[in-house]
Subunit: 441 residues, 2 copies
């Protein structure tokens, strides 16, 4: 690889070579049956070279040195055709990494059989627990990735690791009621996926969902679950912490460092080293060391996150949040594992104290939230009505508002924390919000 | 491959092996610059085996015989764990194919350079034609695919071919007006992508879009362009022709063969052999010969399309519409190249006769249309106001209705036909619809 960097320096003032080798086995469920088992593996090399501030970026799905040389030449041709980017400063310098977590090599060679067995067990268990439920969908996967990021300033970092995940989607059909799709999931850095827990939680929610109740316009306490929180925050809140948005003036958090933007119970940080994190990387997509970046501490906004490019445009340092998009090859500001700090009491205590309110499992429509101001309009579904401290049944309702208003009304977080592995990884407790206005549907 | 079929017969009553080898070079544009050049290639083998009506489906991203044997065993294990599908009849028998079109081998070895050059030319031309326009995005690609589909009944069909495509997205900024993203595209089975045509059409639309005009509630003639038609029909109309939906009773066309469902000017068929088609396959994803399937002839509904499974469940024959999803490995009913028959007069004649109406380039929100009944609610954007036979400027408005009502109001189709290569391939003229109710925005 070092040789390839030297080769690239013939064409570029500076360059980066990132090699990704991956393997993923997976299996899927459709209508109570295993529908597919798959094994995929491959290599991808991304060349980013800069000559006279002109960028060339080439991708090749190989780690063969000859092919990489071709891609370097491809990137060089491209750089010549592009205009200079006057804001370009430089690629990152080497940094000091934390100690690498020990990879779990059983994930490297996993067979799809493991997943097929777990999913078959999940289907069997779910149908035993609820004969009126079908497992409409589901999937499991074990992924393994090796990353080597080098640049001509001396960055040279190798990482490897893997994770396993599964989810099931149940639909209950009883007495003319067809429940919405009810999801539950698990993700971890070993093969001990908690099939029983997934089925237990999912069948409990299906059971609640059989009792369909009307919703109405009211102002009530709402408890959002991990799936709902990850959906809403990914689109309405997290983009606002991006330094690129600070430069482009499209974040409502500009000038608010040190200000209160949420209630005391909310502490939010990004850290791939959290024990539940499924990708404990020591370096980001351009080789900058990762670290724990606090975004909100007891309600107070602590600062933005940066990749190398936007940090240097703004005159600050990368926070290790340069994420590489494997499809486009590009680096953009993103998160590794956002964590919402957990609380002291279990979910059942919170539910037990609510006279009338909702436990919301999923939010639909969160993707059309506006991160420029935090406004959102979503449908809560599935949502479970709580009365007199107990879940009584399921409803659907609309919630439109502003994520910062919502955060100011947060009153408690549960002691249970769940890792939501889909979209951006988020590790979060359930959060209770007071006086949320909802519209019946 | 024959040997592998024999190997698989040890495990299965019948089996299918589908091997896909592909190569794609591509390049992308962001903000007037080339942002990426990419070369990707790979092989994928999909095993579908049936034992006692139990299905096993395994994917492996390799065409190596040893790996394929492993995948066969994987599929066999899976089949044993699944329940029997009592509706399963059999895999397809061999059929008679049309003559293969001659592949264009220049597409097989194309370099990303070709695309980079065309995109650079497009950016340069666009900025020469309109100094206030930026090329916000764009991409070009050349893909090549080799498919070999075999089954234990003697199906053995090999096909190869490729296509090139490009699109540009322009945004104009002038006098405090920022136009919406304006798209144009080309796709063909050779490398002569029409860069001039793409830029010509896109800059013309940007020019129209600088003059922002209000919209209002009214009933007017509307001309839909290829992008708008492909978007709306893909979601609101085409699924209704699926035989699976006939079996499952989720199509409004059940029992309507021979009935009038559109005005006389509408003739719609699916045929990968249309001269403009970009994927002229002789066999579908399970090796059944493709053919010209007429869906609507001069307004009359002619029939449904089928894959092997649903055809046999219903007691009819596959129409060669089994499409394979490369991600899940599964077969489902789909289209190769849907074609709307062209008319006699050019678009400019149709525009010239409109006193007040709209030329609609894009429709947003078509994906939430309901194919069970044809209802849709979309935002027309970009849409161009026509007054006194001339385009006067751009508006945004809402259109909510039913696709069959719309089709009954179709009054003319243009003589120009365009291939829309994104989503499902659709080859279509512009279509004029009379008395369309729109809501100003």
């Amino acid at each position: 690889m070092e040789n390839l960097i030297r080769f690239g320096e013939k064409f570029f003032d500076e360059l980066e070579i990132a090699v990704y080798r991956s393997r993923e086995v997976s299996a899927s469920v459709e209508l109570n049956e295993i529908s597919m088992a798959s094994t995929r593996s491959g290599a991808l090399t991304i060349i980013r070279g800069i000559k006279d501030k002109r960028l060339g970026l080439a991708l090749i799905d190989s780690d063969d040195p000859d092919k990489i040389r071709e891609a370097v030449e491809q990137a060089a041709k491209m750089a010549r055709l592009n205009s200079p980017d006057d804001r370009w400063v430089s690629l990152p310098e080497p940094g000091k990494y934390r100690e690498k977590p020990k990879p779990n090599y059983e994930l490297k060679e996993a067979s799809p059989d493991v997943l097929v067995e777990k999913l078959v067990k999940g289907i069997k268990l779910a149908r035993e627990k609820d004969e009126n439920a079908i497992v409409a969908g589901g999937a499991g996967g074990v992924s393994w990735e090796e990353r080597n990021i080098l640049n001509s300033h001396g960055v040279d970092v190798f990482q490897e690791g893997g994770a396993a995940y599964m989810y099931l989607e149940l639909v209950g059909m009883r007495d003319n009621v067809v429940t919405p799709g009810i999801f539950d999931f698990d993700a971890r850095r070993d093969l001990n996926l908690d099939v029983d827990g997934v089925v237990e939680r999912a069948t409990q929610k299906v059971k609640w969902a059989y009792n369909v109740l009307p919703s109405k316009n009211e102002e009530v306490p709402i408890i959002l679950g991990p799936w709902a929180i990850a959906g809403l925050f990914s689109f309405a809140l997290l983009p606002a912490f991006s330094g690129e948005r600070l430069v482009k003036e499209t974040t409502p958090l500009a000038g608010k460092v040190g200000e209160k933007i949420a209630s005391d119970v909310i502490t939010l940080y990004d850290d791939p080293f959290h024990p539940l994190a499924i990708e404990p990387v020591i370096a980001d997509g351009e080789g900058v060391p990762t670290r724990r970046n606090v975004l909100i501490e007891n309600g107070t906004f602590k600062g933005f996150v940066w990749d190398n490019y936007w940090a240097k445009v703004y005159g600050t340092e990368s926070t290790g949040n340069g994420k590489r998009d494997i499809r486009s090859g590009g680096i953009s500001i993103g998160f590794h594992s956002t964590v919402i700090e957990k609380g002291k009491r279990p979910l059942e205590d919170l539910i037990g104290e609510i006279d009338r309110g909702y436990l919301v499992d999923g939010l639909q429509g969160a993707h059309s939230s506006n991160p420029d101001n935090g406004n959102f309009a979503v449908t809560a579904n599935p949502a479970f009505l709580i009365e007199d401290g107990e879940v009584k049944g399921a409803s659907v309702f609309l919630m439109a508002g502003n994520v910062y208003e919502l955060l100011k009304g947060a009153s408690e977080v549960t002691k249970e924390q769940t890792v939501m592995p889909f979209m951006a990884t988020m590790i979060t407790p359930h959060i209770k919000f007071e006086n949320v206005k909802i519209a019946g549907k």
